[in-house]
Subunit: 199 residues, 2 copies
């Protein structure tokens, strides 16, 4: 005896492949879709299709974009002399959410990793150097993750960019705002002490 | 400054309308879609569209179906003399998952509710009576929810069906399998004592 009709089986399986969605949530979503307005459901369907058909990488920064140049790189109000280097498009969103960065981005689409065999040629490092040489870039902020791969990538980039006479900085590592010293891990606490600033 | 590109904004909004999906999970899903194989994403898009375009109610039992008659009603291997009456298509799935019901269903698409003004004409009661009169139905199991509306509906149906000379039963209410008497609510425990069975 089968649990679902075939059409339901297929949609539940497709939905439960998405991150954070199990069989149970997929079922709830199917019933929600069945009871929703047709327009709304067709819109969702076409937005999903469109994302795959129209969204590629920005030719300048390699963030996701639905045109050749992403909305950030094509915004004249932003500071094009300030580039924030991140590993992944997700990081762009996190930084944009702070609302406190006015420059533009460069997405490496990865990080150097000896373990996983990712070298400088495998991520968008060459393009970054070209951008800095070509455009009038004043400062590069290295916002790769504060883990082994991210630190390695930041170190590699800082050495690589030194001859280009551009200011290179690294985002601060320290105890997160709102956290407790008591519960902070030792590596973070050591770094916070080391990078202390005058008040 | 906007957090997302427009295309991302739209898809995040559409996804976070689904039950159990917040902004954060919607973002994760968008990135998952961007990184997935095109075929897989287009399949999901077309399954969502198809559910809205092709799935309606079964003409016999009012369960969801992608043809005039649902896969349960059209299965000759099932016992068509045994009808299980439920409130919602979701309940059909729950009962199907037990694998222990061999009959067919009747989905009322609601329950009687004085508070919400749902009367016998508003749910599929008339159709049930017609089915019982027309087909050779031996037994009707009332599997409406064990709450006020469900009990009211079951009581109403049991009176309505009495003249039809069909066996009418109600699913057992009692303490759930695997639970503890200590933590069982009083209404359930009272019912379990009242409906005790000889061993």
């Amino acid at each position: 005896m089968k649990r679902y009709a075939d059409w339901m089986q297929q949609l539940v399986e497709a939905l439960s492949r998405l991150p954070g969605i199990g069989k149970r949530s997929a079922e709830r979503i199917v019933f929600y879709l069945l009871k929703s307005k047709k327009d709304e459901v067709l819109e969702l369907s076409s937005l999903i299709r469109s994302v795959k058909e129209n969204v590629f990488f920005c030719e300048i920064c390699h963030n996701f974009a639905d045109s050749k140049i992403c909305y950030i790189c094509s915004d004249p109000a932003r500071d094009h002399g300030l580039i924030c280097v991140v590993e992944d498009p997700k990081d762009v969103i996190s930084i944009e959410k702070t609302g406190s960065f006015v420059g533009i981005y460069h997405v490496l689409l990865g990080a150097l990793s000896a373990l996983e065999g990712v070298g400088p040629e495998d991520i968008r490092i060459h393009d970054l150097v070209q951008r800095i040489k070509k455009d009038r870039v004043r400062e590069v902020i290295l916002a790769t993750n504060p883990n082994t791969e991210g630190e390695t990538t930041a170190l590699y980039l800082s050495k690589l960019l030194r001859p280009l006479k551009v200011k290179v900085s690294r985002i601060a590592r320290g105890i997160p705002v709102g956290s407790h010293i008591e519960y902070t891990d030792q590596a973070t606490l050591s770094r916070a002490l080391e990078d202390r600033l005058p008040v």
